[in-house]
């Protein structure tokens, strides 16, 4: 209790003024489309490494979105952790697209250790095949788990499994988390699961 409010030396940052400094100075962009420079550099690094395996969804202020195929998502995640210094996943959300016959799983990845990335969220999206008649865990709706890359996805992926039926290959603990034990219906957040009266 001696150390009440002091900052740790590793995170020695200048006193926060108003407004706080931007993480990276924004250079004027030559291109006609004004993309934020720092965010552009993140997506450029990914494109440089993986080529056309990754598709840049958007580059906005503080947000970069990368779409990856399901076979490359593990490699891309390892690259994001090791080279780009992102260290934790904030949320894993599934989005159901019946018209594409796919279920999208979106990882929002952030960083605590790298101070220039404190504002940034890297959105890593991948898509799994969608089954019309799902048998959660025993059908083709599968994705490789990122739990060995980012430990923090453990409960989030369990939630996506029960809410969308996306089985994560290699996840150590693919059990039910939030739903009742005797839930026998469709995974509830799929679009074909209709709630009563609607």
């Amino acid at each position: 209790m001696s150390a009440e409010t002091e900052n740790p030396p590793a995170e020695a940052k200048p006193e926060v003024k108003s407004p706080p400094p931007k993480p990276a100075p924004k250079k004027p962009e030559a291109a006609p489309v004004e993309l934020p420079a720092f965010e552009k550099s993140i997506s450029d690094k990914l494109v440089e490494k993986f080529g056309d395996k990754v598709e840049v969804g958007f580059v906005k202020e503080d947000r970069v979105r990368i779409n990856v195929g399901r076979e490359d998502v593990h490699d891309v995640a390892e690259f994001i952790r090791d080279e780009l210094n992102y260290d934790h996943v904030e949320s894993v959300s599934g989005v159901d697209y019946p018209q594409d016959n796919e279920i999208e799983v979106v990882y929002h990845i952030g960083s605590y250790t790298e101070s220039s990335l404190a504002r940034q969220i890297l959105v890593l999206a991948t898509r799994a095949q969608r089954e019309t008649n799902p048998i959660p865990g025993n059908d083709a709706t599968k994705l490789p788990t990122l739990r060995d890359v980012f430990y923090s996805v453990e409960f989030h992926e369990r939630e996506v499994f029960e809410m969308f039926g996306v089985f994560f290959d290699g996840h150590p603990d693919n059990r039910r988390l939030l739903l009742p034990e005797d839930w026998a219906d469709l995974p509830p957040l799929r679009k074909d699961f209709a709630i009563k009266g609607r």
């Binding site: 740790p8 949320s91 959105v123 739903l179 957040l189």
Partner: protein, 378 residues
Amino acid sequence: MTFTLPPGLALQKVDERIMTLNVGPQHPGSGHMRIIVQIDGDYIVACDPDPGYVHRGEEKMAEYRNYITNIPHLERPVIHDSCNVLYPYVLGAEELLGIEVPERAKYVRVIASELNRCIYIMYWLAIYGIFLGHSTMFMWPAGDRELLIDLMEKMTGARVTHAHFVPGGVRNDLPPNFEDVCLRQVNYFEKRIKEYAAVFYDNPILISRTKDTGILSRQDAIRYGTTGSVLRASGVDYDLRVKEPYDVYDELDVHTNVMKEGDSYARSRVPWLDMMESCNIIRQALQKMPKSGSVRVKLKPNPKTKGLESVYKRVESGRGSLGCYIVSDAKPEPYRVKMSVPSFRNLIALPNLLKGEKLGNMPSVYWSLNYWPVEADR
């Protein structure tokens, strides 16, 4: 008697020494969840949290309601922190609908959000006190938080479920003479919470029960992706009000409270320091707020863009970083709303913290994670 359970069902081998104990959902030390602990004598060898007792399917319900009617049920996960839990949703909806918020509304939001943070932390502190058998620490915060609830009631008309933030500003302007009353109450409140040090934080019994229990190292706090007071108590200087200021937080002077120990004591002390910081922010906001002006612009029902559009906004709530991921398909209803809630993110630390602890330390470690089960279940 040894047997192996199917893979995924048991985290380790069960033998005769190990006893499995269900704590909750009807237990004074668990709240609305069940914690399955395996104990060897008095020591916990494995812990498996079982949330979901308040899973109400709010994300599914949000797909059937339009942007404005989503507000009342999206604040229910944390009714005593309802302004903060709505904040990222409202910010995201504003970006999707293309609404600019008036300056005065932003300040009103900051004041309401900081008052709500104090109300939340006071309730959390009251329950923390009663978990440790410290009845005074239930009565004092539970009584003092009524002061701020009075302020919020004056401002919004409801005791806990305010539904005050709407896309485009706040619902009502401040009542007349609110600034003076608010300043007076907040000053008294700050004086009052400083007295808690004598009865609670410097209490040798509390210190001996919480010091060096459930230590979360800095590396682990980052690896588990914990957030809020849990993260700051482990020595990571991360507060979204400073790092990614939303609304008018970049014009205010916000100080981040960090402790290095990472034990239950540090995790219980950081929210208390946060409350004093909130009082500072409220005073600054009252001073800088425009004295008059509109607090709400007209809501446009439809998103501005055609096709799929997604937005991820996050704010610092009473428990930590709270994110909201909204996908819109240009209809009046959102296509998907995902709340990335801090309680759910902090839950992952619980099995790792409890391993090797005594069973008697379970409530103090569990509640020091700043956990609100209703929010984690959504």
